[in-house]
Symmetry: C2
Subunit: 216 residues, 2 copies
DNA sequence: ACGATACGAGACGGGCCCGTATCGTAAGTA
DNA sequence: TACTTACGATACGGGCCCGTCTCGTATCGT
């Protein structure tokens, strides 16, 4: 994977006027890419220092501080960099759309860099709530709302029970995939897992003929 | 909550012979309790330093190093300290037992100190795999195996489908609760959530009469 | 009483980090 | 060309931390 262009990273300090030597776009992406690489290699957010980032990126400290005022500001842009748009949903069946959305989580869990970011950000919910909020708003919320929409549509079309809280439904589908992605370094996210989860949650895990089943 | 006695903490260095002044049990528990309090207050594992721990516990650094060789050794004992035995399972119905096991997760998620530990340890899977393994083996594995047992029993008694991988079943039940406990500081772990999850996963979220349902 | 060990406190040398400033140089605009 | 800004490198004072060691004191076995 090569360094994506990722637009102008430094949201903190604007590049003022157009005079003088322009900011190096290569430095931008080198810094962001280096942070992702370090996290991917197992570095903890706490072990990440501006000094180490600059050193690893082959860049002067001033070049980093010229773009970001502190580590949190840099990390926020790093999180923006790994945000990828959701694939389009076919919209034909709820099952298919749910599988697509779970596949997104599965692939992000398999990608070391995104799973490392997610695990690290979770550990920082209390200590850097602003960083967490940024991650939640850019990465989590979008996917969650997409699943809301699919499930609500399913309630209208009769594909999904309408007597269960939509937020609980989201967790029933996403939770199993998320916990597998989070709790293991080499996550057991095998092919076909999305379909297995979706089908099992849709159908239920009680045998058809069991007396306690709500189906006659 | 007061400092529990928690047995002899220092697994690292044995107290050699019985001569001389004995180790202070109060220091033992004060140190462990202080670590838990700091984590509970939002301190990151990376921000925890032996120096800060000693200072916060009102203890000399030597007193800490006399018991634990380094931070990881201390943290391993801290994790042992929050390990609580599972409640007995009634064994009458699979549903009841699953609810009990999910209630354990729910209460641990609501308790700030255990959820803080869990979130922090997750962030350290790659950087301190030995610490993670300790947490996994003492805290996670036990509960997971208890759920295995319940589900396998359910397969024998006909309360649970036997055509789904038991490991997947565990994640279907535990995943929703875990992801809620991990992804939010004030986790939405309301009363009755365990029952809702268990029942929804057992029954399925497809309406009874839906054409795609596997029930005729 | 006496020797042994633990205690809290803190000094110690060495290390990494913070955020800023200053080099000489490079790459743009006017 | 003159001016302006960015570049990598590195020095700076200040801070926290590591793990060890040394105080003077406390609390045990013998």
């Amino acid at each position: 994977m090569k360094a994506e262009p990722m637009a102008a990273a430094g949201a903190g300090l604007p590049a003022t006027t157009g005079r003088g030597r322009p900011r190096s776009a290569a430095a931008d992406s080198s810094i962001v890419e280096t942070v992702l690489r370090l996290l991917e290699e197992g570095t903890t957010l706490g072990e990440l220092s501006m000094e180490r980032i600059a050193r690893s990126a082959g860049v002067g400290k001033a070049t980093v501080y010229r773009r970001w005022a502190n580590k949190d500001a840099l990390l926020i842009d790093v999180m923006r960099a790994i945000d990828e748009p959701l694939p389009p949903l076919a919209g034909t069946s709820v099952r298919e759309d749910l599988v697509v959305l779970l596949e997104v989580i599965r692939h992000r869990g398999l990608a070391k860099r995104s799973s490392a970011v997610m695990r690290n950000v979770i550990g920082v919910i209390q200590s850097s709530p602003q960083l967490w909020r940024q991650y939640h708003d850019t990465v989590i919320r979008t996917r969650r709302e997409a699943m809301y929409a699919v499930l609500r549509r399913g309630m209208r079309t009769g594909e999904i029970r309408d007597d269960i809280d939509v937020r609980l439904l989201v967790d029933l589908f996403a939770g199993p995939m998320l916990s597998r992605a989070l709790l293991y370094e080499r996550a057991p996210l095998e092919d076909g897992l999305s379909e297995q989860i979706v089908d099992a949650v849709l159908e239920g895990v009680r045998p058809s003929g069991h007396p306690a089943s709500r189906r006659p």
